[in-house]
């Protein structure tokens, strides 16, 4: 069984996100360790991009801080390698397509395999365009995570049917960022997903509080939190690790209650 699937074995998973290289690659390694210590079952590492069109202001700014501090794709692979030496927590890279395309698909997925990245989430690569890299990713044992949106409707079966690793269900319209309310009918979307695939489904976008995490964990196999963690990193900078550990622990505790 893959590391990603294992993350979903013991009840609903907590998935934490951090932008790689914000503020430095060393601090990112500390944040990832803190998340793992706090109980995160899977960790997404954002590959900084100049123009993250699917992100709200919090992660946009984290991307720009990381780039300003010189973070590169090779730096991110170095980070994965460093974390992998100490931890078996599944690591998934969230990246826009252009850095992958520019690096070269063969070279990028080979580096994922060599360093120990288990999957990739590419927000600007919809189902229709996946063919150009899915074979290369599969050859290297890297899962390309399928995203499902509130607008996917009749597409859900087609999308979920081919999902590997986990299905990323986008909770809300718009971009990433903390929201007070999630209005999408997640129950019906998740019902169709479950009916189409045995791959676990995690919900992300807009989740920040333990109450929201608890509610989502009753519906889905995993809860994804990004902007709320990146906000803590922005607030405390290089010293954010203990705060991130504490936050992740609180969220994971809330999810455990839901079981």
């Amino acid at each position: 069984m893959s590391r990603i699937l294992k993350a979903f074995e013991n009840g609903p998973a907590f998935i934490g996100f951090v932008t790689g290289g914000d503020p430095t690659l060393e601090s990112s390694a500390g944040f990832i360790e803190a998340m793992a210590d706090g109980g995160a079952d899977l960790i997404e590492i954002g590959v900084p991009f100049s123009d993250p069109v699917a992100e709200g202001p919090v992660i946009q700014e984290a991307n720009l801080r990381a780039l300003k501090n010189g973070c590169t794709v090779d730096g991110i692979f170095g980070l994965v390698e460093a974390v992998r030496q100490k931890h078996q927590v599944p690591l998934v890279l969230l990246t826009y397509l252009n850095p992958v395309f520019h690096y070269g698909y063969e070279r990028f997925f080979a580096r994922c395999r060599e360093t120990g990245a288990d999957g990739v989430i590419i927000p600007d690569l919809p189902y229709e365009e996946r063919g150009e890299l899915s074979g290369i990713a599969a050859k290297n044992g890297v899962d390309v995570i399928t995203m499902i949106a509130p607008t996917s409707a009749s597409r859900i079966r087609m999308l979920a049917g081919e999902a590997k690793g986990f299905v990323y269900v986008v909770s809300s319209m718009g971009v990433t960022g903390v929201r007070s309310e999630i209005e999408t009918d997640l129950e019906s979307i998740l019902a169709v997903v479950r009916d189409s695939t045995g791959t676990p489904a995690a919900v992300g976008f807009g989740i920040s509080t333990p109450e929201q995490a608890l509610r989502i964990s009753r519906l889905a196999d995993g809860v994804i939190v990004g902007s709320a963690i990146v906000k803590i990193a922005a607030q405390y900078g290089a010293g954010a690790a203990p705060h991130i550990r504490e936050y992740v622990r609180t969220m994971k505790d809330a999810i455990r209650q839901g079981r």
Binding site: F49, S50, D51, V53, A54, G56, P57, Q60, L64, L67, T72, V73, L97, N98, P99, V100, F101, H102, Y103, P123, D124, L125, P126, Y127, E128, E129, G131, E132, M147, I148, A149, P150, T151, S152, A153, S154, R155, L159, V170, M173, G174, V175
Partner: protein, 397 residues
């Protein structure tokens, strides 16, 4: 491979949240482009409202002065709202209305597309919000006020480089927030399919008219068709009708800013490399890790790090050629056209005029150069004055 390909370029590289909408948009476009009622309505708007057909003007003084090829100007600057942008927005806003949308959003660089979108929205009773880089709202303050007069809300974009690229990012973000009642009126032959095809089709009226006018006036086709290229909508609109005419050279003029070797330019074909951004595969100005580069041009409308995918394809196949033109060459051409022909053209269009000044003298008198004058230059007068160090600040008397 997916739809909307031009060789390896094009495609639909956008978040899943927008995929269903793009599919609906393509279906609606494919239906209405052949619908007699839609075509009649659009033709009437283009004729009665936008002022089409636009003139094909023989620039006799310029021809004599340059002493080579005969020069004809396709006067898109005379359209309502002052540029070719109206051709596309009337088509798209009308289509959006047919699709049941009540609100349109648009990005704008120089403000020409924003003004055109706000105009079409006012005419066709749609809400309109325009996203414009904060830097551009200062460079083009007059156009901001113009859009507001037309009833649009203008959002200054504070992210990234605060120019056209960031305005596109923010408009895409807004579309993913609110897609059910909103159409994104993309302003150029770029973005995910079906936009490059749809915008080209709506702009292709430029080349269709020019080709017929040229045959009527001269009984033959031009040696070359020349247009400025940012995203490339006026160029694609001009070129499209001439693609099968292999004797007609197609020349796109890119913004070389302060010069290709200064790093301060927006010359995508000359200096860019293949990439995937803003929904399309094409050429982009970017660094060795695929980070989109900050670009620069005196012209806010050409200040874009990419180029439409069909241009990328025309470049790959060699059917069209793309040449760099610097700020100073464009400013000189802007002033030259004003003095010589009494036409103040947009600084974007002046890039095409500048290239014509370079190539016309070495061509024979039996040759013809067709130039797309994509917009008028009222919006640029203050910037050119600043460039020349002239203070024209208006004061209360």
């Amino acid at each position: 491979m997916s739809k909307g390909r031009y060789g390896v370029h094009g495609g639909q590289y956008i978040p899943e949240t927008l995929m269903s909408e793009l599919i609906r948009l393509e279906e609606a476009y494919e239906f209405y482009k052949n619908d007699a009622g839609f075509k009649r309505q659009l033709d009437t708007l283009l004729k009665e409202y936008a002022g089409r057909p636009s003139l094909l003007y023989f620039a006799e003084k310029m021809t004599r002065d340059l002493g080579g090829a005969k020069i004809y100007l396709k006067r898109e600057d005379l359209n309502h709202t002052g540029s070719h942008k109206i051709n596309n927005v009337l088509g798209q806003v009308l289509l959006a209305k047919k699709m049941g949308k009540t609100r349109v959003i648009a990005e704008t660089g120089a403000g020409q597309h924003g003004v055109a979108a706000a105009t079409a929205a006012a005419l066709l009773d749609m809400e309109c919000e325009v996203f414009m880089g904060e830097e551009d709202t200062r460079r083009q303050a007059l156009n901001v006020y113009r859009m507001e007069l037309l009833g649009a809300k203008v959002h200054p974009v504070m992210s990234g480089t605060r120019t056209l690229k960031d305005a596109v990012n923010e408009t895409m973000r807004e579309w993913t927030r609110r897609v059910h009642d909103t159409h994104y009126v993309l302003g150029s032959v770029m973005g995910p399919h079906p936009f490059p095809m749809m915008v080209r089709d709506f702009q292709s009226v430029i080349g269709r008219e020019a080709r017929a006018q040229m045959l009527e006036r001269e009984g033959r086709l031009p040696s070359a068709a020349v247009a400025c290229v940012g995203g490339g909508s006026n160029a694609m609109g001009l070129f499209y009708a001439f693609i099968p005419d292999e004797t007609v050279r197609l020349i796109g003029c890119e913004a070389a800013g302060l010069g290709l070797d200064t790093g301060k330019h927006a010359a995508t074909i000359a200096m860019g490399s293949p990439g995937v951004f803003h929904g399309m595969k094409s050429y982009f100005c970017q660094d060795e890790y695929g980070q989109i580069a900050p670009v620069y041009s005196i012209s806010a409308g050409l200040d874009y790090p990419g180029i439409g995918p069909e241009h990328a394809y025309l470049h790959d196949t060699g059917r069209a050629e793309y040449v760099p033109v610097t700020d100073s060459e464009a400013v000189e051409a802007f002033e030259y056209l004003a003095r010589t022909e009494g036409i103040i053209c947009a600084i974007e269009s002046a890039h095409a005029v500048a290239h014509v000044r370079k190539i016309a003298p070495s061509m024979g008198p039996d040759e013809i150069l067709l130039v797309c004058l994509s917009g008028r230059g009222d919006k640029d007068v203050a910037a050119i004055a600043r460039y020349r160090g002239v203070d024209i600040h208006e004061q209360d008397s």
